[in-house]
Symmetry: D2
Subunit: 489 residues, 4 copies
Amino acid sequence: MSQIMPPAHPFDDDKLKEECGVFGVVGVADAANFVALGLHALQHRGQEAGGIVTHHTDTGFHQVRRMGLVRDNFTSASMMEKLPGGIGIGHVRYSTAGAKGQTNMRDVQPFFGEFSMGGAAIAHNGNITNALSLRKELIERGSIFQSTSDSECIIHLMARSMGRNIPDRMEEALRKVEGAFSVVAMTRTKLIGCRDPLGVRPLVLGKIGDGWVLASETCALDIIGAEFVREIEAGEMVVATERGVESHFPFRRQKSRFCIFEHVYFSRPDSQLGGRSVYETREAIGRELAKEAPVDADLVCPVPDSGTPAAIGYSLESGIPYAMGIIRNNYMGRTFIEPTEQIRNMGVRLKLNVNRALIKGKRVILVDDSVVRGTTSRKIKEMILDAGAAEVHFRIASPPTAWPCFYGVDTPEREKLLAATMSEDEMCKHLGVDSLRFISLDGLYRAVGEAKGRDANAPAYCDACFSGEYPVAPSDMIEQGFRSKQAAE
Amino acid sequence: MSQIMPPAHPFDDDKLKEECGVFGVVGVADAANFVALGLHALQHRGQEAGGIVTHHTDTGFHQVRRMGLVRDNFTSASMMEKLPGGIGIGHVRYSTAGAKGQTNMRDVQPFFGEFSMGGAAIAHNGNITNALSLRKELIERGSIFQSTSDSECIIHLMARSMGRNIPDRMEEALRKVEGAFSVVAMTRTKLIGCRDPLGVRPLVLGKIGDGWVLASETCALDIIGAEFVREIEAGEMVVATERGVESHFPFRRQKSRFCIFEHVYFSRPDSQLGGRSVYETREAIGRELAKEAPVDADLVCPVPDSGTPAAIGYSLESGIPYAMGIIRNNYMGRTFIEPTEQIRNMGVRLKLNVNRALIKGKRVILVDDSVVRGTTSRKIKEMILDAGAAEVHFRIASPPTAWPCFYGVDTPEREKLLAATMSEDEMCKHLGVDSLRFISLDGLYRAVGEAKGRDANAPAYCDACFSGEYPVAPSDMIEQGFRSKQAAE
Amino acid sequence: MSQIMPPAHPFDDDKLKEECGVFGVVGVADAANFVALGLHALQHRGQEAGGIVTHHTDTGFHQVRRMGLVRDNFTSASMMEKLPGGIGIGHVRYSTAGAKGQTNMRDVQPFFGEFSMGGAAIAHNGNITNALSLRKELIERGSIFQSTSDSECIIHLMARSMGRNIPDRMEEALRKVEGAFSVVAMTRTKLIGCRDPLGVRPLVLGKIGDGWVLASETCALDIIGAEFVREIEAGEMVVATERGVESHFPFRRQKSRFCIFEHVYFSRPDSQLGGRSVYETREAIGRELAKEAPVDADLVCPVPDSGTPAAIGYSLESGIPYAMGIIRNNYMGRTFIEPTEQIRNMGVRLKLNVNRALIKGKRVILVDDSVVRGTTSRKIKEMILDAGAAEVHFRIASPPTAWPCFYGVDTPEREKLLAATMSEDEMCKHLGVDSLRFISLDGLYRAVGEAKGRDANAPAYCDACFSGEYPVAPSDMIEQGFRSKQAAE
Amino acid sequence: MSQIMPPAHPFDDDKLKEECGVFGVVGVADAANFVALGLHALQHRGQEAGGIVTHHTDTGFHQVRRMGLVRDNFTSASMMEKLPGGIGIGHVRYSTAGAKGQTNMRDVQPFFGEFSMGGAAIAHNGNITNALSLRKELIERGSIFQSTSDSECIIHLMARSMGRNIPDRMEEALRKVEGAFSVVAMTRTKLIGCRDPLGVRPLVLGKIGDGWVLASETCALDIIGAEFVREIEAGEMVVATERGVESHFPFRRQKSRFCIFEHVYFSRPDSQLGGRSVYETREAIGRELAKEAPVDADLVCPVPDSGTPAAIGYSLESGIPYAMGIIRNNYMGRTFIEPTEQIRNMGVRLKLNVNRALIKGKRVILVDDSVVRGTTSRKIKEMILDAGAAEVHFRIASPPTAWPCFYGVDTPEREKLLAATMSEDEMCKHLGVDSLRFISLDGLYRAVGEAKGRDANAPAYCDACFSGEYPVAPSDMIEQGFRSKQAAE
């Protein structure tokens, strides 16, 4: 049931992709303005589509969903007039856990439903690992799904709940859901936020005037001038109104397992996590990497932009000068529409160019955040050698990515992950570089603040993409034949 | 005669703006692909509009002109089908020297004209300083102008020339023109490039297979895999065909006066100028600045992205750690269409965010490339202080910008230039920072490779925006009342 | 929950509006082509939006819904590629019985639902008179409505049915529904058609090759070259597959009450109803009118285009020459978008012009199909007099429209119907014409083939708009305070 | 030099096409409103594109040109704001005499030029028969053409004229031009109209308040409520300002030769020509045809819509009842974009449907205005026979079209004209109808008011398409090898 093929990105970005960002605000004038700004700050978490729902006392609920960037869709005065009211939520997404290979306006969140006690809208970051079985059961009982999104289950579970009010219905719905989720929802007067029991995906609380804000990251508070109050806790549900914020813990309490890859790549460097800027954490990863994997060279260069903080850390620790050996084209976007073969073949060149005059004859350390399929790494290596570099050493600011994520991150199938089938040495040869080193999992834990490294019995983070240890069993995937490391052993 | 109001950029970028980039290629299959890629690499020289003209032996000349980015307009297979042939030129532009305050498809280059011996297209980077009087004279003689652009004069002068072939007509036309220009033109078989006698604007020659390329910068050669041959000389005209390149010097020879601001800001850091990467030159400017204007501090932070190389140089010279204290939103573009008041007021916040957790309590050196009106500098200082910085020191990688440019750069009127009315100390107070220092003009000359600094009697560069010494009298402007420094003295 | 204001038609068309046309086909190659053509032929039944659903054995269900005309949306090869398969249904609509004053893509039919035994799509012409109470009940039980349309109830009732297959579920759903409906639905393999027990809205069956067609009117069979088989009977449900057509009668049998206004205005003149072309019936109405209401005059002129057949009949019966005194602009459409005040004020002049040279000094009989609010009639009379006509006599091919329709026709509120508040004489004075006569209700019945006129005890047609006698009680409307003539008496 | 392929009309309309309509107004508030309305009334003269130029005392000239219909482009308030001022002209066009097979925004009129004494805009209906040689000469002297349109010559000739004011320059320019033209032009204050010496194309003068109007037809005066003053005479130039209208006769006086096909087909039936409505003339043609070519039959049916008035005349004269045997789909337009093969093959069925129930078993006279290639006539005959007609008799309201028009009408090449290669009998067999008769040329002259028929020595009309006698030698075409009947004899 879909009509528009997705604007397929012809260039292999070769990165894991966060699938969503969420934002909500209550108790302000013209909430949609704040939602739009917040989503703009969270755009790195999803560029494919976005949506906003608001509620105005006189005119009820209003909703707009659009393919494309926030700045292109949600900043005009005429658009804001379509979204009146003092409470609103929004969502940006990269793609959905729904139908593969196609994009559908219907899958764009927030989802809205009218219940007997009034309407509610919901926006979801994460992935429901038992969505298929929930969906099957709901359809059997007469629910009509409008999207292919796993998130739509939540609103149907709410519609069928006997709860007296919407927060109660949401609690009941979320208790039936497995997986990772940070949810922002709204009724006519209440802004609701909830994180799954492990707190895999991020969600923070902010304050602006007498109003309250929920957002995936603190950078979305900064842009609207809101004050950062605290992170929502794992397993916590908050209900914010103009009168204040209530906190509930509807789930059985568990030790939190926040996604460690948020530190490595997903979150913006200017966001705060655990009291420190993500930038500083990444610089610390670079320093740790320099200690673990030193090498003699002339220059430390980042693969822009995500490798930059770790490269700076590596340079500061090693004393080897930092330099911009690769320059990124700022006018690259997601919108090369049906390019010619010739342009498609340009691939990474459309986005990156080597600083030839600088690189020539130098021994270069390239710092990147991760290696997924390795396709981009190969091309960058070729560009650097083609420019006359004497040596190329890759240093990677995360351990080998060997397992897919089922908690709201777009990962290739396991067999396409370079680290799933090759050792570090084999990858080095495959990429054809002079040396290749990943940070160790313990080193990464140290850099993010766990002085003793990873506690194998009770890891402080979800690191399934590195370790293969899934804190929540991905039941839909297991039914489809996936075997986790635990299962394999 | 205009219909479309420009997509006014609501945010004061507070930068000088290069007005154009030009590109041409001959002797390749499907020239338009190469032109599109070259223009994409030159997009930083003009984002408002672009155009491509090609010629195919069977179907003649083809032209497409569009508002917006190259990647959005000129990469689809269906578009490339409209631009067949083995020779082509293209143009990207920021805005025109034509009608103020309005954008017109008709002003988008290249311009095309049919002459008795065949057609020709022309694309122009620079500004013709006697365009108004030329235009008046041409209209009196019966020429009908289709655009408000100064560049259209050239093609009308060519149409009226008695020259036997198009290069001859172009020579004759360009001899009547004053100002700064790097021109790329084409006939059915010839690719023509020409720089004004002072060589104010850049133009380079490249080779790809058996074909030839002309481009504003070397980064446009890199993207298509062309080899950099040499810079076109000041006052040189080259005519390239499949058989080779001829060189002519149609003007009285003069000492060249290349635009020094290309080193400071306009050119891409990965382009080469004078045998060195622009990145290295900017790093050298930062080192020179650290020597001239040292200060005790905790961090050196660039104002992204243009201050980055100089900040790295400043850090390397001073030993003060380099850090990304300000983070740029990668999803910012030129397309906030008619935003609400509230969003408009966000201004620089939509584009930049301070890394609060990093900056708090620190003494920060902020390195920027230039100060034009000072509005952005003020806002950045406020953001930094608001984040809790202990001290803020501005270091600027160019001398005070005190004079407008009339050679193809968009500058505010003189009275709006902060440095036109204030001393360095006054500017420091005005901006409210702990210290403010600009590199000296001599220091800048040293950094760009003139070991002895600026030779006041025969400066090696055009530095009119700093010195007020205009190497070509801006005659149209003088007629309208402008008084240069020379005139004033 | 709506974002786009409707493209308000600035010109008071002053007609009753049929709200929908439906079409379906099974057993052909590329069904979407046929559906598009059929909908194009039915465009007069709804111009605001259209939708098509198809099913392909390999790729499942496909759906496209669009605002605007069929020819603009559904004829391109690229669109047809999005709608593969050998079975399909479609819908054109004028507006919905849903949210007033707003248009919403979500209200565009067909509606689609996935059930446990597979998907189904449904398109509906008519109006469900108990939709509000059904909707309320369904929401209380957990159904989430995506549209404001009354028709969506049907698919939710189907989703909740325990029926073993989709035709069974549809029977069960339709038995809960009151009002007028001609429904076309499809599963993966079955094309289903159903008319309400009174057969108020039309639906015909056709044959093309080995395939079957359902359509609102026979003109949609003609365009694809299908053979007209028969009308679906009142209260009949047919299930067509490649193997043949089954017929069911799921409702209590009742005497049919087909909408008499389909004869007067809604249906296309080249469609067949009851074995005769609608054109001939309208010509007969004109003849009957000439007998009932003769007048001495020079010319009989239609109000184009709907008055044309009756005018021809009037002329043939009376012997007064027929002439085109009013000319219609063929380039008029529904798309005057936000016109200026001046253009808006032109009103009917944008669409009609009087043939001044012809009309001058003549006694003119103007034949129109109906008078609703009378606004257009006044303007036409003014135009005719302004052109110098000596006398103007209005003859109307239907009885006075004094009651709103609740069975799928867009009627103004009762108080806005001219005939609800004025007698024929008062209307004549109000319009300022020399005479005004409507055909009698008995005369209309005679013209449509009931030789004895209307049987007051068991009328053969639904004529509620003329008589105020509603064959199905409009329960939602009664709950909202509407009093029918029966109730009033 | 073109980028957009025309929205090719997939259906062979098989009609001669008028190429343009022109309109101008001076001395009113918001002239653009009037121009838009006038062009809407003239849309039948050109549906492909339209343009408006206005002049406002404060802001100068304004121009908008668009592909598509007037109602879609020129009626919104926001568009009207782009066209301020109290004087304006406009143009609608079917296609150009320029580049074949392609459509170019640059060819859309009015054309604008800035001269030393101010700007002027010009819109042209007709065709300049020596445009190619004029263009060649102008290019040799340095004029740069922006379009492929023959009409652009006029403005270049004006630019090069030494005349002291624009009307003088226009006189001088038009004296160099051969062919048929009705020109409407404007300066800042003057509205200028001019017809070629033979007055081939129409142009009328109207009055509205204190302002003046020029239009191709009187229907464009009616729509804005302007009073019809008189037709501009052959060879007359009028200059209208707020102070009044001056008349000039710049050319050698000749006997007028108005296009007789305007009576047959081009003009709207509600326009007046020679003091009579075009409708009445066409009815008279039908009466004449009934006298010349009677036949026994049951029904007279028009081929809609252009055959309607003549069919009414034929019916009135013959006494055979008039009936609508063929119904036209009102939602047909020009916009079937890249239809599928299947839809393309529907051809005439998309537009016309036979009233099957009416036609069955009847002897039918079909009245059409003309036969060009005969392709549509064949298809209509097939539809009629397929519906079961007993006999089909074609009666054509014009003589056989045997010669191409070079005066502003789009005609197929001569060999594609059915009448160029076949006699009436051969055509009858070719079309496969029971009889086929054309009105005689003398009969046509009688019907348009020449009681004695055609005066072979001094025909009152241009009838070259029937007679092959060209009143102005088509010199460009002759140079390209065309041999007129005169030349052939």
